[in-house]
Symmetry: C2
Subunit: 343 residues, 2 copies
């Protein structure tokens, strides 16, 4: 048997020996996102958030299917060429991902990391490829404003008022097809997060609940790798929004790390907060999934960036735990992506 070589770096970071290539990617967003600042970067923008279906849940399933099939097609592959499908979403029993897996008929690992799921799928997908277990892995995630609102808070029909700390769940899906060989970009490293809970119990303040987890993962990433924020052309958290990203900057500063001018949050990029009335910004699994698989990867591919760090953040509560008085734990997984190998 071959000698087993460790790919661990520090406590929580994994360094790919043969960095998996991003063969293709695709993004689909809803009508509100299609009016935001990133509108020209998305592959598909819906003219109807129902997507021609009769329920919001079916619509969410449909946008995930569109994004995944588009990525497979763009890579010049057939569904059967894909070795594994790794996906998850915000709905109970991750039905968007499971029902998409039924149509895609690929061997499937269902994941749940709330809004951190896109990076969870990229992490495990990279591990499958670098470990020699797959040549092609499809990673994806999605969310829908209407399904998330009625499941986590109130049905839209109630017309409930949104508090200032609330974020707007993105209607969108993103998918990344990873391969063992390709011209890149490449997934270079992943830092797997721990669950952090600093006692936030307000289900309308997700940014504050998730920020400590992002701080923990980013701080550990810098410690494990010996890098600093300035080693990245861009660092993007998933959906901390205005409040969470401000907390992150401050907490990182307390750790002696200045996040600098190249830090942003996908929840801040996807909407015009003032004009689009989204309060603290965007959120949802589809936020980082759609922004990464359009704006971020396209800018990386066109050479605007050489190396980026994407840190997707998730709030791991359920309405049941909140009603039972529990606080909201958060998690964050970071993925480092480079334009060329050896960067």
């Amino acid at each position: 048997m071959a000698k087993r070589q460790s790919k661990r770096l520090g406590k929580q970071t994994l360094k790919m020996q043969n960095p998996p290539a991003i063969l293709s990617h695709a993004s689909v967003v809803g009508t509100k996102e299609a009016q935001g600042p990133l509108k020209d970067w998305f592959d598909v923008t819906l003219s109807d958030d129902m997507c021609g279906k009769s329920t919001f849940e079916q619509a969410e399933n449909e946008i995930l299917l569109t994004a995944t099939r588009m990525a497979v097609k763009r890579a010049g592959l057939a569904q059967d060429d894909v070795h594994f499908f790794l996906a998850g979403d915000l709905l109970n029993q991750i039905v968007s991902a499971s029902f998409a897996a039924r149509e895609l008929t690929m061997p499937f690992f269902g994941l749940y990391g709330a809004c951190s799921t896109m990076c969870e799928s990229l992490s495990l997908g990279s591990i499958l490829i670098d470990g020699g277990f797959a040549d092609t892995v499809l990673c994806a995630s999605c969310s829908h404003f209407a399904t998330a609102e009625r499941q986590y808070r109130n049905p839209l029909e109630l017309g409930s008022q949104r508090p200032p700390a609330a974020q707007w769940t993105v209607t969108g899906a993103g998918s990344t097809l990873l391969g063992a060989e390709g011209k890149g970009p490449f997934v270079e490293m992943v830092t797997v997060g721990k669950v952090n809970d600093w006692g936030i119990s307000d289900a309308n303040n997700m940014g504050a609940a998730m920020a400590p987890a992002a701080v923990d993962t980013l701080f550990t990433h810098f410690e494990d790798t010996g890098r600093r924020p300035e080693d990245y052309d861009l660092i993007a958290t998933g959906d901390l929004g205005a409040i969470g990203s401000e907390i992150l900057r401050e907490m990182m500063g307390q750790h002696g790390i200045d996040m600098g001018p190249h830090y942003t949050d996908c929840g801040l990029e996807i909407y015009d907060r003032e004009a689009q009335d989204v309060h603290a910004g965007g959120s949802g699994c589809g936020c980082v999934a759609s922004v990464l698989n359009s704006y971020l990867l396209k800018r990386l591919e066109q050479g605007d960036f050489e190396r980026i760090l994407v840190c997707a953040t998730g709030a791991l509560h359920s309405p049941t735990t909140s009603l039972q008085g529990e606080t909201i734990p958060g998690i964050a997984h970071a993925v480092s992506i480079v334009r060329r190998k050896g960067e």
Copy 2:
């Protein structure tokens, strides 16, 4: 860079190059399971299904914590020595696993494969170890009769009558600690399942909904490996119960494969169906998790078996999809475990 070696066998099977060792395991079950035929095999049997907590959800979280901490302790390790925690459960947003991860403070991958989750975690855990990404991975799953009934069907307080095809969700948890080095048993291969949906829409007939997925995974496993049922001393599905396991035997027979005398189902083993009034048998993530991590692994360790195949089965519906008229897709993941390397 080292040459990347494929560990793929056929379409969906992964063969470990250096089979990960099972360092330790632990099981916890509730009061009903403590009266069943396997009662003497479990590590902890509760005298109170509330586990001293004030809600059923907190109780479920507690049994998962007990099972995971026990496995870590038995291996002579501290929490900090475990590189990753991979777990999931049946509850919305897998809160049992997420809240356990908060206490265990290990880097965490949240999984959702319904009742197939134990084998999903063992599969990805083995991949992490064999791929050189971890030396120790804690894999776990759990369920609780009372939390599952009120979430998927009706609260117990309603006293709803159970139809004959219904299965009884196991109150139980199981955990397996995998390591890069050890005296075994060892995870030799995993076969990752696809989603199968044969149109069953009755949420009280999980066995029939999941059986086609188990057939697909087992048939593929035999095709990928060139093995036959007689190559295993025991083949155990997760929780097909009386109806599903009968369907499985029949469908495998139609494929020309006689499952023979060494096939069983954990949902049939855990209860005395007549005396304990459980109708079609046991079910839930905790069913295969508790039976594997007690009875099956202990019998393997004491030499009653040399090689077993465990195929955990999951139904990927949610109450929302069922109410919207969707059918129930199923998935199954199989893990082959051997007592000694090279078996």
